[in-house]
């Protein structure tokens, strides 16, 4: 309806990987969709829209971020129910998407609950509703295209696995290519119709090719060999489950069909593997929340060592090295059975392989950073802090803020934040029998449903730093300042807030109120005085106060106290035993159930293990750091969360 003209698919410069993945999915919906991960402004959504224009029968159906569960799955049509007193199913997005392409922009920001329902339908091809007195099912076969920006957090691995293919996009680097992108974009915006006209021939050619490939798809023969090769490639890559093999085969079929071939060849399988494996390779640490790891097959340690010895980090060599492995994989099936596959000349492969492994090279850095986030995320699993959903910082909130995703029956007595749509749906079928007092609809107490809202929150990290005259105070302050600012600066952790309390002489001071601003932190932390005695208890007590004050403002905040001290308390403002008092303060923290981390800076020859005692008292994680630096501090904090 809106946006009849779309930037033509064929006019998009570069981005061949996304184009391929989309075309193959349109040819063969069995592939199971594609997840496109990458920077903003890389034509992701234009391409998704564009590919639909290349077919006659595929439409783009959108799943916006504001979607509520009833619209995704479908629900009772309350208009009909009021008028006729019967429950009629009103189809939702999953019905609309049947036979079409379902596009979810920013899929990583979607509520877990919706993602789950979505992927269930995607893999079963059916939407089953059993609720609110309704029993209904309908087919829901669609090509799922998701896009995400990893800067905003990852997707859970079980969700990742449901996407058939995975493509990572990057902007073009070549200046001439970049210039061409701008030229076409400006051309298009000046006159979209004329621009489309200019590309008409290529649009028609491409859509004919796709149409032909769709017809030919069923004629593509999958030999045992191909299956075995797929299996061994998957095995080599250390992927979990069997979905990967199936996806590779289905993708390879689409590739062959697009090429007008009826036989699969080795290159098809390899090409398919490039798209099907990256997000499925198991992480070394087998982290349950692991992000998309690099699209490089996991190698045994021995091989890695060997590789390092032989080739260092040269990408050329790496690809050759890995090439050998794939070759091995190819050889196996060939030995075991008569090969129906065309023998592939070695030089033909190299090009594809180089891409494959260079692709792996490029993405090597990124996951390391996301990996940290994965560790951050796991905190909610411990259940000590909140009833979070396990995904970092996305949680059900009891406040009136947040995104309305679902509804529920109110717990007795508590009726606020009414979900009016759900309430109407519940009440609707009974309207024919109710007294209505000139209204169209009468609502009983029992009809009322309330909203379930979700909200994303980051951690609020409060550093409590010992600035007393003990050794290395200056250096310590520098390290903490560095860590605080990097945490704020790091785009991945934008939702985190940081505050800092310093204790020295006779009191504690809130030198940086809880903030998200890098600028403010830099300003406030320019000069941090040190020296004097160690009023540890005052520092801890202030931290509790800051957390309590924060909770009043934001009920859902996730506070984390990071104590940096050797535990040698030397001052009590009440003239009591300073350490005893600190222990008491620590007990308060424990009673408030605040997540705490102790960074033990005790560097003296005879260790008194005071910080350890405090940590035990607070039920805190403790790290002994010899050489306190911003980096080590950040690592310790993120390990603990």
């Amino acid at each position: 309806m809106i946006n009849n003209t779309v930037f033509p698919f064929v006019a998009v410069v570069g981005q061949e990987e996304i184009k391929n993945a989309l075309i193959w999915n349109v040819i063969n919906p069995q592939i199971g969709g594609v997840l496109i991960s990458g920077e903003k402004g890389t034509a992701k959504s234009s391409l998704a829209r564009g590919v639909c224009k290349l077919t006659v029968d595929t439409e783009l159906v959108e799943l916006p971020l504001n979607t509520t569960e009833d619209r995704l799955l479908g629900n009772v049509d309350f208009e009909h129910a009021i008028r006729f007193g019967e429950r009629r199913f009103e189809a939702g997005i999953l019905k609309k998407a049947d036979g079409n392409l379902l596009y979810v922009d920013e899929v990583n920001l979607l509520s877990d609950h919706l993602v789950k329902s979505l992927l269930e339908a995607a893999s079963s091809g059916e939407n089953i509703i059993e609720r609110e007195g309704m029993s209904y099912r309908h087919a829901s076969n669609f090509v799922l295209v998701g896009s995400m920006n990893p800067e905003e957090g990852g997707l859970r691995p079980q969700f990742l696995d449901r996407f058939g293919l995975y493509v990572e996009v990057k902007g073009e680097v070549d200046t001439r290519v970049r210039a061409e992108i701008v030229r076409r974009r400006i051309d298009y915006e000046r006159n979209p119709l004329a621009f489309e006209q200019k590309w008409q021939d290529q649009i028609v050619e491409m859509s004919n090719r796709i149409e032909r490939a769709r017809e030919d798809l069923s004629k593509v023969v999958v030999s045992d060999n191909a299956m075995q090769l797929a299996a061994s490639v998957v095995d080599e890559a250390n992927c979990a489950g069997h979905r990967a093999e199936l996806v590779i085969i289905e993708t390879a079929k689409a590739i062959a069909a697009m090429d007008g071939r009826k036989m699969l060849n080795i290159n098809d399988i390899k090409e398919a593997a490039k798209y099907a494996l990256p997000h499925r390779i198991r992480d070394v640490y087998d982290q349950p929340e692991a992000p998309p790891p690099p699209p490089e097959p996991e190698e045994s340690e021995e091989q890695q060592e060997q590789e390092q010895n032989e080739s260092g980090n040269d990408p050329e060599d790496r690809s050759e090295q890995a090439d050998d492995q794939v070759d091995e994989a190819e050889e196996n099936p060939e030995q075991e059975s008569d090969s129906e596959m065309p023998e592939d000349p070695a030089d033909d492969q190299t090009e594809a392989d180089d891409d494959f492994f260079q692709g792996g090279e490029e993405t090597l850095d990124a996951p390391e950073q996301i990996f940290q986030i994965a560790r951050w995320m796991s905190q909610t699993d411990k259940g000590t802090i909140s009833k979070g959903s396990g995904k970092r910082s996305l949680m059900v909130t009891s406040s009136l803020q947040g995104r309305y995703v679902r509804n529920r029956c109110p717990v007795k007595g508590e009726i606020r934040d009414i979900a009016i749509d759900a309430t109407l749906r519940t009440a609707a079928p009974y309207q024919r029998y109710r007294e209505k007092n000139d209204m169209a609809i009468a609502i009983n107490q029992s009809d009322i449903r309330v909203k379930i809202r979700e909200k994303r929150t980051g951690n609020t990290i409060i550093f409590v730093v010992d600035a007393s005259g003990s050794m290395g105070a200056n250096k310590r302050m520098k390290a903490v300042k560095g860590a605080a600012i990097s945490m704020l600066n790091d785009a991945y952790q934008k939702r985190d807030k940081v505050g800092m309390i310093v204790f020295k002489n006779h009191s504690a001071e809130l030198v940086l109120g809880v903030t998200r601003s890098v600028e403010l932190a830099e300003k406030k932390l320019t000069a941090l005085p040190t020296g004097g005695r160690t009023p540890l208890a005052a520092g801890l007590n202030m931290a509790v106060e800051v957390v309590k004050a924060g909770k009043i403002k934001d009920k859902d905040m996730l506070p984390v106290i990071v104590l940096i001290s050797d535990g040698r308390a030397t001052y009590s403002d009440q003239g009591k035993d300073a350490f005893e008092e600190a222990l008491k303060a620590a007990g308060r923290i424990r009673a408030e159930k605040i997540k705490t981390i102790v960074i033990d800076t005790d560097q003296s020859f005879i260790k008194l293990n005071l910080a350890e005692k405090l940590a035990v008292q607070m039920d805190a994680d403790r790290y002994q750091i010899e050489e306190l630096q911003a980096n080590s501090l950040m690592t310790a904090v993120s390990l603990s969360l």
Partner: protein
């Protein structure tokens, strides 16, 4: 719209030329992607945005359409207008472009629109109640303290800003309407940063500082006092300038399609972006469009290197990858250096 709140005249704002130009450019060319104005309190940020209302051009719209649909652009029309246009049953009226406020406290349903509850209960029918995004179509959407906006509202803004369409799938309502707006945000960076993704959505960014010159500062106070004493008289004093600027903007709007550029400039732009390590291609596209709009504003038919240089100053600062311990001051000067070197 209430007209009784007297708006400070745009042309009476002392100094802040960069901010003023960025706003004007976005009025001339709504496809630039808006502007984010960063700065301390009391630097006339909000005043400037609100003052813009007076200078906004008139344009055609389908009568009584709540999305202000353009009768000549069926590609971006709502379903009702599309129907009307097809059957030739509509009237065209001239309306002024508006500044629509998005308050920081706005809830998600008010922003995207929702089920009309009154209608549902009285009539038992589903009806879509339009939200702020509906009003914002073809207008300026202004978010004061944009950095304090709730995350999920930001998500929604990103969603519709991307395609110029607002798709509603909530509370039993399924509806789509055009939502192409110029996003203008103001913020005080001391109160927290913006999410990188939202930051990238803003075509241009301006950092404002208080005026340093004593004479200028005195002038700021004098004008403000005059305005508060007798706003009518004050307005009259600037009538001439206001009209002139509004005319210039109108002319630039008409002239913009005729502005052309040398292909070589595109490569210079690409080089600048690559040298500065800018993500994606939006920076390149916006830089060229901004340069074209600057040329149109000056009534020039050809984009010059100087235009590109000027555009770079608005487009790049917020798009460079920020690293910890980076001094933003250094960033600013390195942009200028690199741009100067490449543009020659």
């Amino acid at each position: 719209m209430k007209k009784n709140i007297k708006i400070y005249p745009f042309t009476a704002i002392v100094g802040q030329e960069k901010m003023k130009l960025a706003l004007i450019l976005n009025v001339i060319n709504p496809s630039l992607g808006g502007v984010l104005i960063r700065g301390e309190k009391g630097t006339a940020k909000s005043t400037a945005v609100r003052a813009l209302a007076d200078l906004l051009p008139e344009r055609d719209q389908v009568e009584a359409c709540k999305f202000s649909c353009d009768p000549l652009n069926t590609d971006q029309a709502c379903s009702e207008c599309l129907e009307k246009i097809k059957n030739d049953q509509f009237k065209t009226v001239q309306t002024k472009m508006k500044v629509i406020d998005l308050p920081v406290s706005a809830t998600e349903d008010r922003v995207v629109g929702t089920l009309d509850i009154e209608h549902a209960i009285k009539k038992g029918e589903k009806r879509f109640e339009a939200g702020i995004l509906a009003q914002a179509n073809r207008n300026i959407l202004y978010v004061d303290e944009v950095n304090l906006l709730d995350d999920h509202v930001v998500d929604i803004l990103l969603d519709s800003a991307a395609m110029g369409v607002n798709t509603i799938e909530r509370e039993g309502i399924s509806y789509t309407h055009p939502a192409k707006f110029t996003l203008v945000g103001t913020m005080n960076p001391e109160e927290g940063d913006l999410r990188p993704q939202l930051l990238d959505r803003f075509g241009l960014v301006v950092d404002v500082l208080g005026e340093g010159d004593i004479g200028q500062r005195v002038e700021v106070i004098k004008r403000r006092l005059d305005f508060e004493k007798e706003s009518d008289v004050f307005h009259q004093g600037f009538n001439q300038e206001q009209t002139t600027l509004a005319d210039t903007i109108q002319k630039a709007v008409e002239f913009l399609p005729d502005v052309s550029f040398d292909d070589q400039l595109l490569e210079i732009i690409a080089k600048i972006s690559t040298a500065l390590g800018v993500d994606g291609h939006r920076a390149d596209i916006v830089m060229m469009k901004t340069a074209m709009t600057i040329a149109a504003y000056h009534g020039r038919a050809e984009v010059t290197k100087e235009d590109v240089k000027e555009a770079a100053g608005y487009v790049l600062p917020h798009r460079m990858r920020k690293r910890p311990f980076d001094d933003s001051q250094f960033n600013q000067s390195s942009i200028e250096e690199i741009v100067n070197e490449l543009v020659g």
